[in-house]
């Protein structure tokens, strides 16, 4: 079924927490090289869906295929080894380690295949030079020796993205990458994602902010109450009546 253009194929994905149907039968196809936005109002099941793809939740039902291989239910570290890298909504950098060490930790995936090989030296000149290349790509090379916990939120986000890129993933997943960023930092971030897109990276991102999603995505999938209510280009989605209702409905409730 999956042609060569398809990278990720999700079929009938469900996650139930007791009686709550957080995600209830979502299908989704992601093509190579595209940027797909997963949007929807609060509590729509975006993050739950995201966490199932990354291996942080086990789906109640359904399949997730990456390059035709079923990966649903694999633990997070195994999913990472299959080539899916992620960032976190609440950044999770290794605070007491330097920016350089944070990034180098991601290299272990390729350089240290087993537990016992992990005893080998990681800080070789070649590895450190490669670390700097990644840090330069996200413009934080100047902070290489700084403790990651001392960075501003915007720079932590960049570090997380650099760390994810260092895994050389086939799919990069960003969980609300602009949450909590200042206007300037958001602009910088948009520029960074555009750069990644131009380089051919396949990206899936969860985004709450419609404007950010519209600016970044080739296609969008809209979730509401655990089901997919729309899919298409940002233009199509914005004019979709079901989407307008879902978002406006939320606005009414907020009032």
């Amino acid at each position: 079924m999956a042609d060569s253009e398809t990278l990720l194929e999700v079929r009938g994905l469900k996650k139930h927490f007791g009686g709550l149907k957080a995600v209830d039968g979502v299908d989704l196809t992601l093509h190579r090289g595209e940027t797909l936005g997963l949007i929807g109002p609060n509590g729509a099941g975006k993050t739950t869906f995201f966490n199932m793809v990354c291996g942080f939740y086990t789906p109640t039902e359904g399949t997730i295929q990456l390059n035709g291989e079923e990966i649903q239910g694999l633990p997070a570290h195994a999913v990472a080894r299959k080539g899916i890298a992620r960032t976190f909504q609440i950044t999770k950098v290794f605070k007491d380690m330097t920016v350089e060490d944070n990034l180098l930790a991601a290299f272990a995936l390729k350089r240290s295949p087993s537990l016992f090989s992990s005893l080998r030296r990681s800080h070789t000149r070649q590895n450190l030079a490669e670390v700097m290349e990644y840090l330069e790509r996200v413009d934080i090379a100047a902070f290489a020796k700084v403790k990651a916990g001392d960075l501003s939120l915007g720079y932590m986000r960049r570090l997380e993205i650099a760390r994810a890129l260092a895994l050389e993933p086939v799919l990069l997943m960003l969980d609300e990458p602009c949450a909590g960023l200042s206007k300037d930092a958001t602009q910088d971030f948009l520029a960074l994602v555009h750069k990644l897109r131009a380089a051919g990276t396949t990206i899936m991102l969860v985004e709450h902010n419609m404007a950010v999603a519209t600016a970044l995505c080739d296609r969008m999938t809209v979730l509401s109450y655990g089901v997919k209510i729309a899919e298409g280009t940002p233009q199509e989605v914005q004019n979709n009546q079901a989407v307008i209702d879902a978002y406006l409905g939320e606005a009414e409730e907020a009032d």
């Binding site: 942080f56 570290h77 080894r81 976190f88 290794f94 605070k95 380690m97 995936l109 992990s118």
Partner: protein
Amino acid sequence: MYEQVIAINIGLAMLLAMSLNIITGFAGQPTLGHAAFYGIGAYTSALLTAKAGWPFLLALPMAGLVAALVGVLLGLFSVRVREDFLAVTTIGINFVVVAVFQYVELFGASLGLAVPKPELFGLRFGNTEILILLVILNILVYLFMRHLPKSWLGLALGGVRNEEEAAASLGVNPDHYKVFAFGIGTFIAGMTGSVYAHFMGFISSTDFSFPVSVGVLSMAVLGGLGTVSGPLLGAIILTLSPEVFRFVSDYRMLVYGGLLVLMMRFQPQGLVGDDSVLRRKWAGLCKRGKGGERRG
């Protein structure tokens, strides 16, 4: 000789503090039962040499392996419990292990075990030989500790210590690395126990009781958890202080406990940790030195 005995005690303490530092400092897994593994190593070595007739040099690594085996089991368990629960669990393990030593006939029960002095090529191990052995072991473990932060293992443990989920997202299996850290740390503690048993010539269950674990933790915390040389400094200070100050030996637990509280409150990074008072002073001195040179 008095100085030799103190040097041996320091050597033992440094090994214990460094081994605990791998588990608690680097992997971030709080353990309050480290003396259990020290004891398992000591009893293993005592039984192997006294009852099975093994040579000391074979019993030494075997003591490490047996302790590591139990340590790996604890590690597998620690994967299920976190933080404070793990700390409480390890206290329990310490008491259980001591109770086993105290009540099981094989371990000499309340009478303890006599341990033969080791011989090597007809040379009887006196305190000097024990001291030389401890210096060698300390150098080896210290070199390992120096290497650790610059290794894939150190980076993986750093990830697990800081943010387990983020470490997993980088392909690190947090459970494997935690268990590995427990294995390495308890292996070193077991070997240290073996040296202790053969140095003392006699062991009993109370040598490995909970206060010993607290003492080892205090050393690591005082010097700086997760630092390379901090636990060495902590071990030296806390082993020497009862010799120098009488009250420290009278109120040992009070000193350990008070130290833990004070360090956690005022210098959680330890004496040699990042941005500690000691380090700032040292950096200030270095700067002043350089400034002087420039002026000259």
